[in-house]
């Protein structure tokens, strides 16, 4: 069967303890923009990186990836496009 490829975006969901300021500090350190908290999910933030590919079948690699080494970064996920159909 045709293999369904994943499409990576240049948006990340990141879990950082320490509050909004800390999150923004870490975001800018690696070239991200902190868009803000994800809804009501405490400590989860929406990061956007303008210098990475907007859509790619490969997950993004580069110095910005070192953000995951930050001690306060507990979890990070590059966002994948999900196919959603209106019913």
């Amino acid at each position: 069967p045709a293999c369904r490829t994943r499409v990576y975006t240049n948006h990340w969901a990141v879990r950082i303890t320490g509050g909004l300021q800390e999150a923004s500090r870490i975001a800018s350190k690696y070239g991200y923009v902190n868009i803000g908290q994800i809804g009501t999910l405490k400590d989860y933030y929406h990061f956007y990186h303008s210098k990475t590919i907007k859509r790619s079948v490969l997950s993004s690699r580069g110095t910005h990836s070192f953000i995951s080494m930050e001690p306060k970064v507990e979890w990070i996920q590059q966002q994948v496009v999900k196919r959603r159909i209106k019913r």
Partner: protein, 799 residues
């Protein structure tokens, strides 16, 4: 004024009102036969006031004349554009009309001479623009968690692809958003999520592969056509809760609603149209009772929805008396019945979640065959915080490997016999991924009892030629039971049988569920779950333990009876036949033995004789091990035979040394000079003595001490001094008849020491010379026992 049956008395000036067949359908001009009773709810004064609904879709035309009055900016957001204005993006194809159409169904304003009347035409309506761009886990999470303390109902008419080969659902962030919303939304009452069920009829999809409709947190809504027939697009699904109208075939009338560019349409269709309808009906119920929790809403839907004229070949009545089908769930929603229920609803008890043990027994699923796995659920009876007796949702977590997933069909049968199809064959699903911990959910067992045997069946029906060398495998599966441990419906929630004043009959599904239950007292060994008779064998669940009697009936007992041991949780199992008590059923797991048997302390088995190397202990129960040097013994250190290479020295076994020496553990060392053989150094370790010495209590002496006599019974050269009988002071032989002298206060009488209390002497007598005892002696009367006792001293004196 409310008059039953006169739904037509409400007139709106909205141009499309008269043709909104699904709003006032039971006037006989249409072929629909049963109604969602929306007007009935309106007539009771509920139109959605103070309830806030949002549509998660491609935006909402907030300035549409039929929406602007009820539009609520606080229930709106543009996730795609990351701003507060959810206006849809316009383009030539008007592709972003979906959200606006859904919104109109819920809360289009009534009597404003525009388009239609929404079901909750005074509710607040908002929209989240989140489908008009890349939909990611994060986008969904943001949408699902928008302003949860303000928004009451989220309606979503989208999902994973309906191509018949996708398996997808909420990812980690969206799942967290659901859980947050349920736990904390509406100030702890729980956000209400309404979801359009699957829509991929032509591609033979099955909505159990849609993780959103399979979630217990979403109210999955199906559609039925005006005629009650199944729309072509509808997917069957065990997780569907209820149904609202939509349209089916091209000749069926469709849903009329607001459209993009301030227009009105009468061609809205699909389950997309059904979800917002359900959201509007739920808004009416929330107005009737704003304190309904998210579970209360689902309970009320289950209790009030009706099969009516909906066509489904799989309608069945579950053990709680609810009619349910895979196409329509519990049937067509009934707005009026819901608001009546809501008005006097008592909150259902706290939800318990029981995660049963994982069944990891791997089973091969052969083509053209099926596997069957039975799991005996307890409903976590042993844990009061997780105990589930009355079911709500049932989730089955399944891991299967399979070369072609679409060939699988999965069924689950509850202990009460209700069979749910968790998965149907999917012709176009050629995936080799199988299912990894996929959660299938069924609502069909609602209010049934949780404990008992659950049967999972997996059928493999190849849709085309397939390599038989790699069959599928059921890797593991587990049940997650949601429900309550106490009856969820208080009497007040029950339908007032007499007072029913509704415009259409409502079956009381709970009426005969359990009506023939035993109502007398239960046996003391029954838990508070209940019983169906007075005896310990009638308990539904046992308080302490139970064992199976010969005819396999379960008997509740306070403790495991003799010959049984406590197996898992409350069950008593039989010990091995000779065991009186045990810790397991094997013969080497005995703790005590039945009479006539002795417990071998080493093997924990029950035997009739102690084997070599063991001796029977004092209280004749246990065969204990002799000391390691003994081959046989009568006590731990008292050997009667020695192991090879050792020799018996008295009662001990030691390495053989020449006479006059003993083994010190290192070497043979000389005994004490008085010892012929010995078991150690020193004078009191002798075993035999050298010539001229007699063994007395391990010591070699030249003559027997007082209280000992020389034993001549041993033929061999070694003589021993043995202790006299305790009654003698001195003796010349064994026993109490060889005394030669007696302790004070006793008198010797023919070798026996007897207690002498009177023993006169001639010298003591005051009688005239020749006293009494002297006379006795002189007249030779001492042979007489009495006189002898009386004058023992005189009689024993010589002469």
């Amino acid at each position: 004024d409310y008059k039953a049956g006169s739904t037509q008395t409400i007139l709106f000036n909205d141009p499309k009102w008269p043709s909104m067949w699904y709003m006032h359908c039971n006037d006989n001009t249409h072929n629909c036969q049963s109604d969602m009773n929306i007007v009935g709810a309106w007539k009771r004064g509920y139109t959605g006031k103070n309830v806030v609904v949002t549509i998660l879709d491609d935006g909402i035309e907030r300035n549409h004349p039929d929406l602007i009055q009820n539009y609520d900016p606080y229930a709106s957001f543009d996730v795609n554009g990351n701003d507060f204005d959810p206006m849809p993006r316009y383009d030539a194809s008007n592709e972003n009309k979906h959200g606006t159409r859904c919104a109109g169904e819920v809360a289009a304003t009534a009597n404003n001479s525009h388009c239609i009347v929404g079901i909750a035409y005074t509710a607040k309506i908002g929209g989240v623009r989140m489908l008009d761009g890349d939909v990611t886990d994060m986008v969904e999470a943001k949408s699902l968690s928008l302003n949860p303390q303000y928004i009451h109902i989220y309606s979503a008419s989208w999902g994973p692809d309906d191509d018949g080969k996708t398996v997808d659902g909420p990812a980690s962030l969206a799942r967290q958003a659901f859980e947050n919303g349920i736990r904390a939304g509406r100030r702890g009452l729980g956000s209400i999520y309404v979801w359009a069920s699957g829509n991929g009829g032509r591609s033979r999809d099955h909505c159990s592969c849609d993780g959103y409709t399979n979630s217990i947190y979403t109210i999955s809504i199906s559609s039925t056509a005006e005629s009650g027939k199944k729309p072509w697009y509808l997917e069957e699904c065990a997780s569907t809760l209820a149904t609202t109208y939509s349209s089916g075939e091209s000749y069926d009338r469709k849903i009329i609603t607001t459209d993009l560019r301030h227009r009105c349409t009468d061609s809205h269709t699909g389950t997309s149209a059904s979800a917002p309808m359900a959201a509007g009906i739920i808004a009416l119920a929330l107005e009737a009772n704003p304190f309904l929790t998210w579970r209360d809403v689902q309970h009320i839907i289950v209790r009030t929805s009706r099969a009516g004229h909906l066509n489904a070949n799989d309608w069945k009545t579950n053990a709680a008396g609810y009619k349910v089908s895979h196409l329509y769930g519990f049937g067509l929603m009934d707005a009026e019945a819901m608001v009546i229920e809501a008005e006097k609803w008592t909150r259902v008890p706290q939800q318990h979640v029981c995660v049963e043990n994982i069944d990891r027994q791997i089973k091969t699923i052969r083509p053209e065959h099926h596997v069957r796995s039975i799991y005996k659920a307890t409903g976590c009876a042993d844990n009061p915080n997780h105990h589930v007796i009355y079911l709500e949702h049932v989730v089955v977590r399944i891991t299967i490997t399979h070369p072609r997933r679409g060939d699988l069909a999965i069924y689950l049968t509850s202990p009460s016999g209700t069979r749910s199809q968790l998965l149907a064959n999917r012709l176009f699903d050629h995936s080799m991924e199988g299912f990894k911990n996929w959660e299938f959910m069924t609502t069909h067992c609602w209010s049934e009892k949780a404990a008992g045997d659950w049967i999972l069946e997996i059928f493999d029906t190849p849709s085309q030629l397939r390599n038989f060398k790699t069959p599928g495998k059921l890797k593991e599966w587990s049940l997650v039971l949601y429900g309550t441990s106490i009856q969820p419906y208080s009497p007040r929630n029950d339908f007032p049988k007499v007072e029913r004043v509704r415009s259409s009959p409502i079956e009381d599904p709970t009426e005969d569920y359990g009506t023939d239950d035993y109502s007398g007292p239960c046996n003391a060994e029954c838990s508070k779950v209940g019983c169906d008779g007075p005896g310990p064998d009638h308990c539904t669940d046992c308080l302490h333990y139970y064992y199976k009697s010969k005819n396999n009936t379960r008997i509740c007992v306070p403790n495991c009876p003799p010959g049984h041991y406590t197996a898992d949780k409350k069950r008593c199992k039989k010990c091995s036949p000779n065991c009186e008590t045990c810790i397991g059923s094997h013969s080497d797991q005995c703790v005590t033995c039945k009479s006539g048997y002795y417990l071998n302390e080493e093997t924990n088995t029950c035997i009739t004789n102690c084997p070599d190397g063991f001796y029977l202990d004092k209280n004749k129960i246990v065969c204990r091990k002799c000391s390691e040097n003994c081959k046989t013994c009568v006590e731990f250190q008292t050997c009667t035979e020695c192991r090879h290479g050792l020799s018996l020295h008295g009662s001990r076994c030691a390495i053989r040394c020449e006479d006059g020496k003993f083994h010190s553990g290192r070497e043979c060392e000389p005994c004490h000079r008085s010892c012929a053989t010995c078991a150690g150094a020193g004078i009191d370790a002798c075993i035999n003595c050298t010539d001229g010495y007699f063994l007395e209590d391990g010591r070699c002496v030249q003559s027997c001490s007082t209280g000992y006599y020389l034993d001549h019974s041993l033929e061999d050269t070694f003589k021993n001094c043995k202790r006299c009988d305790a009654s003698c002071l001195n003796c010349n032989g064994q026993g109490d008849k060889n005394c030669t002298s007696c302790p004070s206060g006793y008198i010797l009488d023919a070798g026996v020491c007897v207690a002498g209390t009177v023993c006169k002497d001639a010298t003591e007598e005051s009688w005239a010379e020749g006293g009494f005892c002297t006379l006795v002696k002189k007249n030779n009367l001492c042979q007489r026992k009495v006189l002898h006792q009386l004058c023992c001293k005189t009689c024993t004196q010589k002469g």
